[in-house]
Amino acid sequence: MKPLSIATALFGIVSTVLAAEPRQSKDILPKDFKPPQVFKNANLVHIISLEKNYAKEQINAVIENVSPELQDEYYVPFTADQLSRVGGFEVKDRKDAGAGRFVADVAEYDPLSDVQYYRIRLPTPLKAGGQQTLGISFYYLRAYKALPALIDQTDEQYLSYEFSIYAPSAYPTLKQKTEVKAGSAKIPDYTKLAGTGDVPEYPQKQGTKLTYGPFDEKPAGASSPATVRFEFTKPVIHISALERDIEVSHWGGNVAFEERYTIQHLGANLSTQFNRVKWAQSQFMNPNSHALKELRVPLQVGSDDAYFTDTIGNVSTSHFRSNKREAVLELKPRYPIFGGWKYPFTIGWNSNAANYLRRTATGGFVFRTPFLEGPKQAEGVEYEHIDLRVLLPEGAQNVKLLADIPESSIIEHTVGLHKTYLDTIGRTAVHIKARNLVDEFRDRELIITYDVSSSITLRKPFIVFASMLAVFTLAWAVGKIDVGFSKTKQA
């Protein structure tokens, strides 16, 4: 583990600092809001990568302030449908890695409008005529449609993705290029465009990559719908809900994790009913399948006592390897999960608190854990709703937390109380709700600092002892009472 100083230093550099109190309401923009035309994109490269079962889009843009004033708000447009599925929105300065991540949030205005905006706040306002290189990245969940929608269990699966050839932008773009990286080199269908210059036709195809452009100046909001259909014979894993509970115990020196997943396969459904004979044969001959057979969950080194259950008990088809170098939980669902099938399950494990918990010099505690520890699959995992709950010891105060994920992904966070295991005042529970994240955020951290006084730590054993004593005293007192009638001789 890294020394504590790094953990505390993280407070400084991470952009998303959350205070324990509820977030203040955002300023709401007027209903007829249009982003002021104060920027133009001097150059823009739009990279759409469809290699995972979510779509990752990156927009690298050189923006230029064309207004006479200082400007610090840059808007990125989405359609209303996209906005509900977009997540993990992050912005960096491509030229200056040390600047950290910019603050970005959803600009709230007319909820019925079809165009919605993310607002990026530049850390230092851009002066008139100044240029800055933004690297914007975000992810779309539920990104694909299977085409054909019904396939046989041994067939290959094809997914189609709809996008705009011109990058969505609220500002005029002088020069742009769009690259699409498909999940495989088999791309039977894609939208074609007449070329310009010496290129006869867009896109240019190189292996798995399709390149549209470069194009010359396009006005703000220019769009040209396009579709790409590519082979993706891998499961399309979608986790519609993840509940992650972390229980920190000072007395036990233990941190207990439990995660409840609701997993769904969003790929092509089966055209006929499941056939066990074919499945057994295809397992033997051609293990490549669009069914989900196994999930690998790498845990923190030192994790222990892992379990894998579902609503009707332990799932015996799991393996847990834990040694000095790694701790991997290999999960095999009870049945292969095909398109349209569901499989909710629960996993959990314990770990030594020393791996996660540090005492600060001032007597407080710092608890650090990965925000997400879900399955790590080659095809990627997407999370629609994440409900993270951290139970701190009873009586923990002064809770401060810091989540190293894009602020726009966090819906709400609260600090409450939760009573369990003979608690009298209840444990401090930190509750964070997030949405639309993908497994690329696995290594992001959650840091919580809090104080617990030692008198409150001793409270529970004392209360348990006192109540037991009271029960015994009561039993003794009741035993002393003579409730019988006065004894007369038995007949």
Binding site: N275, V277, S316, K419, Y421, Q490
Partner: protein, 739 residues
């Protein structure tokens, strides 16, 4: 504790240290009783076992989720589709309420224990209490200080009781045996003291017992029998009168509070003995009073008149009420207690349950081991003293032995009394050969009630002073007891600790491999079918489907409607043309069967198939005939030689559908029946395979919807296979429901 033990070892222990020692021993016994029931949890997991417990578990979850009153009025439309079941009024709620109360207490203490774990561990926890109840009961029988502890130890580990109370076996018997023993203890206590308080307590626990298990009828019959025997022996006393009438009046009122029991205590023949003895006691009490008032000769005439008149009127009344239908005649299960062949002929559904079969003799030794031969010795010892409570043990032991002989399941009711009687015999033996020589007896303190008694015994000529015979007998006894312990452990571990939902096998390298096909299929059903998809399966799996797959079923283990079960039996055993309309009429979406052919799992549906045929034949003797499923030589075959009826039955087709393609051509074999199968597999037209588990134990078929273009399924399926239509026949318009 250590101090107490030292005291006990060094010198004559004081009374309080004896009590402490006894408490500690009882705690250890309870601990052993609980620990020996945890094999399945340790080997597998904390899981509900078998069939009925799954229903109890589901009902408990419903109770915890919806509260008591909703549970009381629970109408379950997810079983017995389309009839539904008035579950709240047709179950014994004691078990569920007990775990519900425990759950809420733990919740109030903020101990977050899952309701499943409470259900799984309820039976072991109550077995500890049963051991304690056996201790109390035995202490009422004898003055020997060790008999009670021995009885508790026997009760704790006797396989006959463990068989129904291992962890996960969340069935009514889990708490009922404790209630049974404890009610008997209270009865003896009430009888001995002639106390209304104890009689009322007895009635209270009797009420709890009625709320918990249908076997309460055993108490309802044994207590009157005991009273009757006592009266016949001329042992009528005020004590008997007070305790019996208190128990009967309050106990019957308590039992009538359970909706499932209701007015049965005054309406059915099973309850009549208790009522009869109640009346008889009044009469005897009256006569007793009259005798003290009038002279001898008059009394004789009076007695005979009264007796004859009452008996005649009572009997005539009973017969009249029965024939008029006010009192239900004896039920079928009752008759099968007297004639073990009765059920097989008249009610195959009862006979089809393995636990209703007559007991094989080795089962007695298997379940009771040394207790079997200690029982007669104990009875003889009690017979020598023959106080009122000893009469009870003898009556109970005789009835219990008979019933245990006719029905495997009733071994359970025999076990407690065997433990009591055996403990009395064993402790007597040990006391005689182990306890102090006469010189020491004088030092035994007088504080203990028992002390003078045991002193008498050892002082009597029976006392043995020879060291050799002492050592021999005590040594032999210790060896027997140790063998008993190891036998119990072995039986529990090997015979009674399998959840039967999960099967264990060994990998080639010796590691345990779990065959989890049942849950694989149930979970698949739960996640990937419609919420209200109706599942048809044989009734054995009804509770499991309800509990694990959470889907409506047609029939389940609560076999209240024989016709409905026979309908399912008919659908399974008929040709597709007959079965399909039946399934459509019952809105069946999926059919689930168990097939062990690939793995060699013998408890599969083909082996149970004849029961389906028999039960269906009971209702439709014209359409389903058991004979047709046997070859001309009377063999039950599934290979090439199977009869056409067999080969065309839906069950056969579903079991072997597509099975041949797992093997090289012509090599398909059924590993349960040990036969080669025909090279051509059966063809299914009206249903299609929806899911088959990894080891083929569960196969689920989907019932096809009506054809889109109005063909029947046979021509549609033939068309799909590429066969030409032979001749076109005119057909009527498409009908939704085919009768």
């Amino acid at each position: 504790m250590a101090v107490a033990q030292q005291n006990a070892l060094l010198g004559p222990p004081s009374q309080s240290s004896r009590t402490l020692l006894r408490v500690v021993i009882l705690l250890f016994i309870a601990g052993a009783a609980i620990a020996s029931r945890l094999f399945s949890v340790i080997r597998f997991e904390s899981i509900i076992h078998e069939f009925d417990p799954w229903f109890n578990f589901r009902a408990t979850k419903y109770l915890v989720a919806n509260g008591f009153y909703k549970f009381w009025d629970w109408f379950d439309d997810r079983t017995w589709h389309p009839l539904g079941r008035v579950t709240g009024g047709t179950l014994y709620p004691g078990l569920m309420v007990t775990s519900g109360v425990i759950y809420h207490i733990l919740q109030a203490l903020t101990i977050p224990i899952d309701i499943r774990n409470i259900c799984v561990l309820l039976a072991p926890a109550f077995s500890g209490l049963t051991a304690f109840a056996a201790y109390l009961l035995t202490n009422e029988m004898t003055t020997s200080p060790s008999a009670g502890l021995l009885a508790a130890a026997f009760m704790g580990i006797a396989p006959g009781y463990i068989s129904r109370s291992v962890a996960g076996s969340y069935d009514n018997e889990a708490i009922a045996i404790f209630l049974l023993v404890f009610t008997f203890y209270l009865w003896i206590k009430a009888l001995k003291l002639g106390s209304m308080l104890w009689g009322a307590l007895c009635a209270l626990f009797y009420g709890y017992m009625v709320a918990s298990w249908g076997g309460y009828a055993f108490i309802t019959c044994i207590l009157p029998l005991h009273a009757f025997v006592l009266i016949c022996m001329g042992r009528y006393s005020r004590r008997l009168y007070v305790s019996y009438t208190t128990w009967y009046a309050l106990g019957t009122l308590a039992s009538m509070q359970i909706p499932f029991v209701g007015f049965l205590p005054v309406k059915t023949s099973e309850h009549m003995p208790a009522l009869g003895i109640f009346g008889f006691l009044q009469l005897v009490g009256f006569i007793d009073y009259v005798r003290s008032a009038i002279s001898g000769r008059q009394f004789q005439a009076f007695l005979i008149t009264v007796l004859v008149a009452t008996f005649g009127i009572g009997l005539a009344g009973l017969v009249a009420l029965t024939s008029l239908g006010y009192i239900a005649p004896w039920g079928g299960r009752f008759y099968s207690l007297w004639d073990t062949g009765y059920a097989k002929v008249h009610i195959p559904i009862i006979a089809s349950v393995s636990e209703h079969q007559p007991t094989a003799w080795p089962a007695f030794f298997f379940d009771l081991n040394i207790l079997v031969w200690l029982l007669p010795a104990g009875i003889w010892l009690l017979y020598k003293e023959l106080r009122d409570e000893h009469v009870f043990v003898i009556t109970y032991a005789l009835c219990g032995s008979y019933f245990a002989g006719v029905m495997v399941r009733l071994m359970l009711t025999l076990t407690p009394i065997v433990c009591v009687a055996a403990a009395i015999a064993a402790s007597k033996l040990l006391d005689t050969y182990l306890v102090k020589s006469p010189s020491q007896t004088s030092t035994s303190e007088a504080g203990e009630k028992k002390a003078p008694k045991s002193a008498d015994k050892t002082a009597s000529p029976l006392g043995v002073s020879s060291m050799v015979s002492k050592l021999t007998i005590v040594g032999a006894m210790i060896v027997y007891l140790l063998m008993f312990v190891s036998h119990c452990t072995w039986v529990t571990s090997n015979a009674y600790s399998s959840p039967s939902v999960v099967l264990a096998s060994r990998m080639p390298d010796g590691s345990q491999h779990i065959i989890d096909d049942y849950r694989e299929a149930y979970q698949w059903l739960r996640q990937n079918t419609k919420e209200d998809a109706k599942i048809m399966s044989w009734w054995d799996y009804g509770y499991q489907i309800g509990g694990m797959a959470d889907r409506p079923t047609l029939v389940d283990n609560n076999t209240w409607n024989n016709t409905h079960i026979a309908t399912v039996g008919k659908a399974m055993s008929s040709r597709e043309e007959v079965s399909y309309p039946i399934m459509r009429q019952h809105e069946v979406d999926y059919v689930l069967i168990v097939f062990g052919g690939l793995l060699g799992y013998s408890g599969d549906d083909i082996n149970k198939f004849l029961w389906m045929v028999r039960i269906a034949e009971g209702i439709w003797p014209e359409e389903v005939k058991e004979r047709d499923f046997f070859t001309a030589r009377g063999e039950y075959r599934v290979d090439d030689g199977a009869t056409d009826t067999m080969k065309n039955s839906l069950m056969y087709k579903m079991s072997y559908h597509n099975y041949q393609s797992m093997f090289p051509p012509g090599k398909a074999a059924d590993r349960v029946r040990g036969v080669q199968l025909p090279s051509e597999g059966p063809v299914l037209n009206t249903i299609e395979e929806a899911y088959t588990t990894e080891n083929w134990i569960i196969r689920i078929y989907k019932v096809k919807d009506l054809d889109n273009v109005g063909r029947d399924h046979f021509s549609a399926a033939a068309f799909d296979r590429g066969q030409k239509k032979k001749a076109t026949k005119k057909r009527g318009p498409r009908v939704l429901r085919v009768d």
